[in-house]
Amino acid sequence: MAQTFDCVKEGMKAAWPICLGYFPIGLSLGVLAQKGGLLPWQVGLMSIVVYAGGSQFIAVAMIGSGASIPAIVTTTFMVNLRHMLMSSALAVHFPGVSRRFLALFAYGLTDESFAVNMVRFNRGDWERQSALTLNQATNFTWFVSTVAGVYVGQFIPSGALGIDYALTGMFICLLVFQLRGPVFVATALMAAFCSVVAYLWLPGNAYVIVASTVAATAGFMLKRSLRHRGGRP
């Protein structure tokens, strides 16, 4: 029991940079949704059931412009396909864990929770209860901030305290944690390059999937060829 409590506490502690970053984004989504004619309960329900920032922004805009349900759902699917890669990468850290736990955990998988959980699992000081706590805490923050946005968002000055940069700052640090050797650095550089090129040439956010798949494959081949030459990977 005491151990579970510790896990929850650790999860909360790790969640705060994500919550800090979610808050302004959630508020602005709420403001947009309100302008698009959505009610607080509708926004809250979307944040709980869908819980995916990018696609919620797109959905709100599409609803505003009168798009059809199939069009919005298809777009949502495409936008969130990148989570398949993250879900696959996380699986190695859950050998033999019950399906029920995994089904619950998967609900809270976002770019941010994936990044933090992955770093902590790799470091080896992370319990899966902490990971689940982190997912729930960030989801709760998202829910509260999006609903709050419908009511108060218009009174918050944009850009206050550089809060818009919180998630970028966090991603930069998490990337640094992931650079565990020259092959990882080469992969990250390759991904940055491919991502910018794909962002400019492809519509939507396919750039994340395309760039990370290409870069990971290139990094993998680099590692293989270094090993064949007898060099250290």
Binding site: P17, L45, V49, V50, S55, A59, I63, I69, V73, T76, F77, N80, L81, M84, M86, S87, S88, A89, L90, A91, V92, L102, A103, F105, A106, Y107, L109, D111, A115, V119, G159, L161, G162, I163, Y165, T168, G169, M170, F171, I172, C173, L174, L175, V176, T187, A188, L189, A191, A192, S195, V196, Y199, L200, Y207, V208, A211, S212, A215, A216, F220
Partner: protein, 107 residues
Amino acid sequence: MSATGYLLLILCMGVVTYLPRMLPLVTFSRRKLPPWFVEWLELIPPAILSALIAPTLFTQAAPRLFVLGKIELLAALPTLAFALKTRSLAGTVVVGMLCYWGLHYLV
């Protein structure tokens, strides 16, 4: 959009968001993955993180264009240096926010 239409929309959006998050995790945690696949997956986190950050630093949206010298990029340099030196997540978030905020007033 009617209330029923909205509920249907939310339900469908929820399903297509949840399944890609859930299916690989549930499937691959039960099966022994081939070693090459595990090696490839190890490179996915740095690749995804980098791919998520890069357009924020080097491009503008609507229309999508390559831009060098954005405040986001300028703030990223001290933020990256701080992260490399201290390896502190909380510190990096705060330093990043302060740099970005400060640059807004300078540039």
